[in-house]
Amino acid sequence: MAETFRFWPTLTEPLVRQNPVTLQILGICSALAVTTSLATALTMSASLTVVLTLSAGLIASIRRHIPDTIRLIVQIVIIASLVIVIDQLLQAYLAEISRALSVFVGLITTNCLVLGRTEAYARHHPPLPAMVDAFGNGLGYSLALIVIGTLRELLGKGEVFGYEVLAPVSSGGWFTPLNLMLLPPAAFFMLGLLVWAIRSARPEQAEAPDHVAPMPREPAE
């Protein structure tokens, strides 16, 4: 392990430059489902960050003893158990939040982001860097969710965090809520726009096209 661990870059890289949602397009299914309002987006972000950090720490600490042939199963089992334990804890002590999240806590298990980070990073690094990396990625995921959640709630209901921001027509204001924003497709639109905005600001993130259109040729004479 010649490379030295630098705390700050590991933590901040995944926020925008290596953002797991907008650059790697990981963890999309939950990002679509929970972003109808900012409150659920925040709770989901927090739960995912906790699961991600803990599982990265656990897997990194036993990384030398995980046989390559069964590494994916071992990782999934650890992640799934953590998710169940956290879900049970939420149901017992934070019943309100657990109801708001309903099935999505369970879906953290299948969030590609978690497995992606343990497989790509935690498996090759000591626990502390792995946890910092996982925490950074959790924050990156949260950031994307918060942006999408705020926009969807604002445009779909005219509210942010349940507080009225744009007065809707129904209560005498001028704003007509866009119901589409509360439906799943709107999350795709928002995510697409977000990715577009980030890649326009940082052209190095844009992928090279897989195919180049053939040059138009003069028709044969």
């Binding site: 995980i66 071992v74 439906l183």
Partner: protein, 264 residues
């Protein structure tokens, strides 16, 4: 290497990672530890979760009653409590041998459940208990409100709700959804007060006594309809079927008739 390590754990851990013994050992150890963690958490936290659910259901019932105009005053007058009655769904009368205290044991006995024939099984339940616990609120001799627990198959799973009917046993006074697993943001909106607000005042039957209640597609257009939920057609129609089943002859029908005859 010095002498062989006598600690068997360390001996296994020092095997090369791709050896079969170690692969089996790691798989087994990880699953065992995870199994203990998961079952430990579930078993230890179950009492707290059950208490949470019970408290939540109680709170919803109270909120439901207080949401009905005029009911909170009546509730104060009667001493702040609803009377709880276990009724026999078949006869519609109070059950002679099951009390609210023994209800749980009675429901654990499969003999107290009857299968519902496929044609009648609007709510998709398959079977229903023969007894049910309901809540009554009286104004003198007259029943002014009944709370009826209803349940049925929704889009993603079971929906449990409590339906409040006014004294005429026909006008809905309110609904509270106590448990569901519908899609959040779509069918999940059945638990929102905004949607439930369209229920009070809806009439279940027409003058001939036929059940007309429907969750509309779009906005309610008649006295028998409540507003539909955009994007959640399956959940909306599930709610229609659940209400129709439970207020029909297989559900609380006999009980409602008994109340209308003045037997309660």
């Amino acid at each position: 290497m010095a002498a062989r390590d006598l600690n068997p754990l360390r001996r296994i851990l020092s095997l090369p990672n791709d050896s079969r013994a170690k692969t089996v050992f790691v798989a087994f150890a990880v699953s065992a530890i995870c199994a203990v963690l998961v079952s430990g958490a579930t078993v230890m936290l179950r009492p707290i979760q059950a208490a949470n659910r019970a408290a939540e259901e109680q709170a919803r019932i109270e909120a439901l009653v207080r949401g009905v105009p005029g009911m909170s005053e009546l509730l104060e007058e009667t001493g702040g409590t609803l009377s709880t009655v276990v009724i026999d769904l078949g006869s519609g009368r109070a059950s002679p041998d099951v009390t609210p205290e023994t209800l749980e044991t009675a429901l654990a006995d499969p003999g107290n459940w009857s299968a519902i024939e496929a044609g009648d099984d609007l709510a998709g339940l398959g079977q229903r208990p023969d007894v049910a616990q309901i809540y009554l609120l009286r104004d003198g001799e007259r029943i002014s409100l009944v709370l009826l627990p209803i349940s049925g198959q929704g889009y993603n799973g079971r929906i449990d709700a409590i339906l409040a009917l006014r004294g005429d046993m026909n006008t809905i006074a309110g609904i509270a959804v106590t448990r569901h697993s519908e899609t959040p943001g779509l069918g999940g909106r059945i638990e929102e007060a905004a949607w439930q607000a369209s229920w009070p005042g809806t009439e279940v039957r027409d003058d001939e006594g036929t059940i007309r209640f429907t969750v509309a597609r779009g906005t309610a257009s008649s006295i028998h309809e409540v507003d539909g939920i955009t994007g959640a057609t399956r959940t909306s129609s599930a709610m229609t079927r659940i209400v129709r089943f439970w207020l029909g002859p297989e559900g609380y029908g006999p009980f409602l008739d008994a109340v209308n005859r003045g037997e309660f």
